[in-house]
């Protein structure tokens, strides 16, 4: 499964420009599901037909990044954020554009206190020395993402955009395993989650499932002096109780707990006081959709080196397969 994760993490897909990820998933699942379609926002909807209940499993394809808002005379790029970026975290990071152009994020050095650093005092250096040269390499509105590779080490994966290619990988793996069930399963790879849970809303409207799960990442509370959170790396996928965007539907949550227990799959509860997931927009779509989530405990979310545990990932696949049966 690492190979699949590696491939997905390597695809370029900032919010609004997910087509590489979408094409990759489409090519993998082409003959493995009954129908593949894409909607106006770029959501990829893969359907395994069935006569039973409709289950929607959503994993967002998009990743955080930066968008070029201005190119100055000397060839430096000013940028805005796509999704949640902290200035101190992106400082000194290498980023890459869709066309392969590489840049590094740096800052106006006359700042007196680095704590006060804001994105509008930062820029991307692509090694250009004039506006003309820079414009030959990137255009206004071009988006860039972290440039970083994916490593498997000691059973853990260190990579950019585990948020949320790990969710995509889980759903793709599950579709490949094709769990035996009468139920109809919608593997939905959503667009534009990082900028406000946008894709999942239109996807859910088109499907109106009986139950929905967002498959995403969640924080952990197991690093030095971290914010308190009862989630540890390697202690199992989490069953969402709530995050800032949704309170899980009891029927969904209970079904997950029951299936995890009976199949002897380790799990933890996720109570996230910050951040949202696609479940936040799915559950209030159409007439209301019972929704919840399964997440992979992830350290250093939204940095260029997020860490997940392979065991949690594999257990998440298993839990989801039991869930839809």
């Amino acid at each position: 499964m690492f190979e699949l994760i590696n491939k997905l993490a390597g695809a370029y897909g900032p919010s609004g420009n997910e087509k590489q990820v979408s094409a990759l998933i489409r090519s993998i699942l082409k003959d493995k599901v009954d129908e593949i379609r894409e909607d106006a926002l770029g959501n990829l909807i893969c359907v395994k037909k069935g006569s039973g209940k409709k289950f929607m499993l959503a994993a967002h394809m998009d990743q955080i990044g930066v968008i070029v808002t201005f190119i100055d005379d000397k060839g430096f790029l000013r940028f805005g954020n796509i999704g949640g970026l902290r200035p101190q975290v992106i400082l000194g990071q290498r980023v890459v554009f869709e066309n392969g152009t590489t840049g590094v994020i740096w800052y106006e050095e006359n700042i007196d206190d680095i704590k006060k650093l804001k994105l509008d005092k930062m820029y991307i250096d692509i090694g250009a020395t004039s506006r003309e040269e820079a414009e030959g390499m990137v255009k206004l509105g071009d988006q860039a993402v972290y440039a970083a590779d994916t490593k498997l080490q000691n059973g853990k994966i260190i990579s950019k955009c585990m948020d949320n290619r790990i969710g995509c990988a889980i759903l793709v793996q599950m579709a490949l395993n094709s769990p035996k069930t009468e139920n109809e399963i919608y593997y939905v790879f959503t667009a534009q989650e990082e900028v406000g849970l946008r894709g999942a809303r239109t996807a859910a409207f088109g499907i109106v499932p009986d139950m929905a799960l967002a498959v995403d990442v969640t924080g952990t509370g197991d690093t030095p002096e971290s914010k308190p959170m009862a989630v540890r790396l390697g202690a199992g996928p989490t069953i969402k109780i709530k995050d800032a965007s949704v309170i899980s539907h009891p029927a969904v949550k209970d079904r997950l707990i029951e299936r995890a227990k009976s199949a002897n799959i380790p799990y933890q509860f996720e109570i996230m006081t910050f951040g949202g997931t696609d479940a936040g927009s799915i559950h209030i779509t159409a007439g209301g959709i019972p929704s919840g989530g399964v997440s992979v405990p992830t350290r250093h979310i939204h940095s260029s080196a997020e860490i997940v545990d392979m065991k949690d990932v594999e257990n998440a696949v298993e839990l989801l397969e039991h869930f839809v049966k």
Partner: protein
């Protein structure tokens, strides 16, 4: 375009604070009713117009919000002064010393402040707290004030539009009467596809009207016409200037509410280049537009924004370049004409269908 400019001036002279857009809507109806096949006003107050197309193209919605920022009377003091809340984004600095008019009967008033002679040093140095401000309608006491206004009345800036300088127009409510004026002109022509021209309500308080309008229409594509921020005055670094007045219509790539559809934006850029119409990108990603709401409607809509740069937006004296207004109209019209009968609505091969 003379007529369009006159229309724009008339539109800015009307008051339409969010939730009370009727005067603007009625004026628009009086102009467009002969140009469209059908129109109606929905429960929220959106004016939805329909023009049947010549062919089978996609269903296209063009949106311009009618409402403007303003104030609402919340309390009348025993001295006959009016306390108020802002409706939409207005800050204290903008309010002091401004003439306003209140309610349907346009009762004149003014927002005063302590004269400079009486201010403490600290007060001079800091921004005005809106809570300290009141509207003076010249009434002796509460009883006399209540004869003219009541709690809940909307308050608009009382400023007439002025053409000045090198092809500039100064007016209140350019955001977004400028979009309304462009849409009115667009409705005077017919297109290949079915066109829904929507004059929406309550944008300034959270993009509310566009939500119900797009739900009723279920468009494939939506073009949002707007007045947008412009800050190109001295002491601003080039990259902090959101747009530049006079440099042409503004295309939004991303803001707080939307990432616009890249295929549509590229199409607009092609149209601009082919027709030698200037254009610029918005350089900041702040603010929001109806595009955010419409894009996420139902099963999703491809959206793009064409906007006119407005200096001093959300004040009684916003300023635009008349050429930007004219070019926004030209660009929108050429773009709509280019949509024709065949546009693919899905980005990837193997998508569901092509219209």
């Amino acid at each position: 375009m003379k007529e369009a400019l006159n229309n724009l001036k008339k539109l800015t002279a009307l008051d339409g604070i969010s939730g009370e857009e009727k005067p603007v809507r009625e004026y628009i109806i009086s102009i467009i009713k002969d140009y469209v096949d059908n129109y109606y006003v929905d429960n929220m107050g959106n004016l939805i117009t329909y023009k049947k197309g010549r062919g089978n193209g996609p269903k296209v919605m063009v949106d311009a919000h009618m409402d403007e920022v303003g104030l609402m009377v919340t309390h009348i003091t025993s001295e006959g002064l009016l306390k108020f809340q802002t409706v939409g984004g207005i800050e204290g600095r903008v309010l002091v010393g401004k003439r306003v008019r209140i309610g349907e009967t346009c009762v004149p008033g003014v927002i005063g402040y302590k004269p400079i002679h009486l201010q403490e040093k600290k007060e001079r140095a800091s921004a005005v707290d809106i809570k300290q401000l009141t509207i003076d309608i010249g009434s002796k006491d509460r009883e006399r004030a209540e004869e003219k206004v009541q709690v809940g009345d909307m308050v608009a800036f009382s400023y007439d539009p002025v053409e000045f300088g090198d092809n500039k127009l100064m007016a209140k409510a350019l955001d977004n009467r400028v979009g309304c004026a462009v849409l009115i002109e667009l409705l005077k022509h017919s297109y290949e596809f079915d066109l829904y021209g929507c004059f929406t309500v309550q944008e300034e308080v959270g993009l509310k009207g566009a939500k119900t309008a797009s739900y009723q229409i279920m468009p494939d594509i939506a073009l949002i016409l707007e007045g947008t921020t412009c800050y190109d005055v001295p002491d601003t670094k080039e990259h902090d200037m959101s747009t530049v007045s006079g440099d042409g219509p503004v295309l939004t790539l991303m803001d707080r509410t939307v990432i616009t559809d890249r295929d549509l934006v590229n199409k607009i850029i092609d149209v601009a280049k082919n027709n030698k119409i200037p254009y610029q990108f918005k350089r900041t990603i702040s603010g929001g537009t109806n595009a955010g709401r419409i894009q996420a409607n139902a099963e999703g809509v491809k959206v793009a924004v064409i906007a006119v740069p407005c200096r001093y937006i959300h004040t009684p004296v916003s300023v635009m370049d008349i050429s930007d207004f004219e070019n926004s109209y030209r660009l929108s019209k050429r773009f709509l004409e280019s949509l024709g009968v065949s546009i693919d609505l899905y980005r990837e091969e193997g998508g569901k269908e092509y219209v």
